[in-house]
């Protein structure tokens, strides 16, 4: 008997990405640069988050031509983004053979109440989360991988740090609680009880949790690893930098050796300027992508 799309196969795929860097790319050439630099996967997009921010309007699933071009260009896994709650975009990406779908707040949500029932799909999903309640709800819906939301396209790590610290702290609290306190904690967090119970018993999330949203330097990537991330997504950081190839390689190495500070110093030399970056407090509340998701 051969079984596809099992929880183990879907979560296992993300386990294989651990300690690695997943890079946003908008065409085959960028995908090849990312693969050669040692990326463990690429995210095929029409525009990177900072350009989505600049362009405004409704951001949707990428043109399938771009996704297909990237799928054909590299042998590493290819991820792609669907709008929150957009069943058809997700099904289209699954039918195209995409390896992982990001139900992403970077795109304009298609549904302001419900997320996708991700357990229904053969393809695995990654979702963003800012706290343990959100993380547990996404796991309850069938997400096989999580990432911090951060504040995408800002080149500012502060929100990703906030989200990672929040989730880690809440996990520690759940693990330390006695089991009879757990239902009330589930109510307070807005988290499914069963998922919290699993986290309490295992002492960790049942899926991999990557850092995302605002990683702009090798030191940022290493910082997130040190805070407990299993790996790193780099969105606008790589291909908005002066020397994408060098920058991509530096991020990969800093993620592997995140506690080797001499090495990170070497890696950080002469990278040229990173993306300019945005102070979060100057963002109009309506432009905060992390608020999307329920």
């Amino acid at each position: 008997m051969l079984k596809t799309g099992t929880e183990r196969v879907k979560r296992g795929m993300a386990e294989m990405q651990k300690g690695g860097v997943i890079m946003d790319v908008v065409n085959a050439e960028q995908a090849r640069i990312a693969e050669a630099a040692g990326a463990v996967a690429v995210m095929a997009l029409e525009r990177v988050p900072s350009d989505i921010r600049a362009a405004g309007g409704v951001a949707r699933m990428a043109d399938p031509t771009i996704t297909e071009e990237v799928l054909n260009a590299v042998s590493i896994p290819v991820m792609a983004k669907a709008r929150i709650g957009h069943i058809v975009e997700a099904r289209v990406l699954e039918a195209m053979g995409v390896d992982y779908i990001d139900e992403s707040e970077v795109l304009t949500p298609a549904d302001e109440v419900f997320h996708l029932l991700k357990s229904d799909y053969t393809v695995p999903f990654v979702c963003g989360a800012r706290d343990l309640g959100e993380a547990a709800r996404r796991i309850g819906e069938g997400a096989s991988m999580l990432r911090t939301k951060g504040e995408p396209g800002t080149g500012n790590i502060v929100e990703a740090v906030r989200h990672m610290r929040m989730i880690q702290g809440q996990i520690r609290k759940v693990v330390a609680m006695s089991e009879d306190e757990l239902m009330t904690e589930a109510k307070n967090l807005g988290a499914p009880f069963e998922v919290l119970l699993q986290i309490k018993k295992a002492g960790k999330l049942p899926v991999v949790n990557f850092a995302a949203g605002g990683v702009a330097t090798p030191a940022d990537a290493a910082l997130m690893m040190q805070l407990g991330a299993d790996g790193v997504f780099v969105g606008s950081g790589v291909f908005k930098s002066e020397n994408p190839e060098k920058f991509a390689r530096a991020i990969v190495e800093a993620t592997t050796h995140y506690q080797d500070y001499k090495l990170i110093a070497e890696l950080s030399k002469g990278l040229g300027s990173a993306m300019k970056g945005i102070d979060i407090s100057t963002l109009n509340p309506a432009d905060r992508m992390q608020e999307r998701g329920w």
Binding site: R8, V9, K10, M13, K18, V123
Partner: protein
């Protein structure tokens, strides 16, 4: 106590360490070449083989790993199996070239084709759940290679001397029989040397 390392450049390192510890050996993550010296055996985990190879080159692991493999047992799973193969289909060059076999990468298809299947593994047992994730398979093997398991006529586990490889992920289940099998290989090899 036996000490077995898990190459920790990228991939499912923690799961292999847990599996090895459950088999009663000391397990350690290996990030630097110097750390190979104190080991009795090495596991090369699943992950992305292209990413691992780049880091192997970057940190000068290629020759030390080949040297290590001359003396001591190595077990590769999924990407680790690819690193161990002498020949990779569609590529001009291979990596560590330890096992006389030709492998095909992502041979079962993309992630939506990833699957679980029951396997029979010679010397290990039956009813073994193989978790195949964007997995390779072994296309052909040389005369020195012992075929340990097949799935739908495709070779998915093999052994040559003190080298063991699997196209699936034994570290993703609670069934540690294949890890135990490798621990025995390491034990035997250590006794022979001593």
């Amino acid at each position: 106590m036996l000490k077995i390392g898990v190459l920790a450049l990228q991939g499912a390192v923690r799961e292999h360490i847990q599996a090895l510890e459950s088999c009663g050996v000391q397990a350690t993550a290996v990030k630097r070449v110097e750390e190979l010296a104190e080991l009795d055996g090495l596991v090369m985990p699943g992950g992305e083989s292209t990413a691992m190879r780049r880091l192997i080159d970057k940190y000068g692991f290629l020759e030390p790993l080949k040297e290590f493999a001359k003396q001591k047992p190595v077990f590769g799973t999924c990407a680790g199996l690819i690193l161990m193969a002498k020949r990779i289909q569609g590529q001009d060059s291979a990596h560590l070239e330890l096992i006389d076999m030709t492998v095909e990468r992502n041979a079962f298809g993309r992630q939506v084709d990833s699957f679980e299947a029951e396997l029979m593994i010679h010397g290990v047992g039956e009813d073994y759940t193989g978790v195949f994730i964007r997995a390779p398979f072994i296309v052909e093997v040389g005369p020195e290679v012992e075929i340990l398991s097949k799935h739908n006529d495709r070779i998915v586990a093999a052994k040559q001397g003190h080298f063991l490889c699997a196209a699936f992920h034994p570290e993703l289940t609670d069934d540690y029989r294949l890890h135990q099998y490798f621990v025995k290989m390491v034990q035997t090899s250590k006794e022979v040397v001593a």
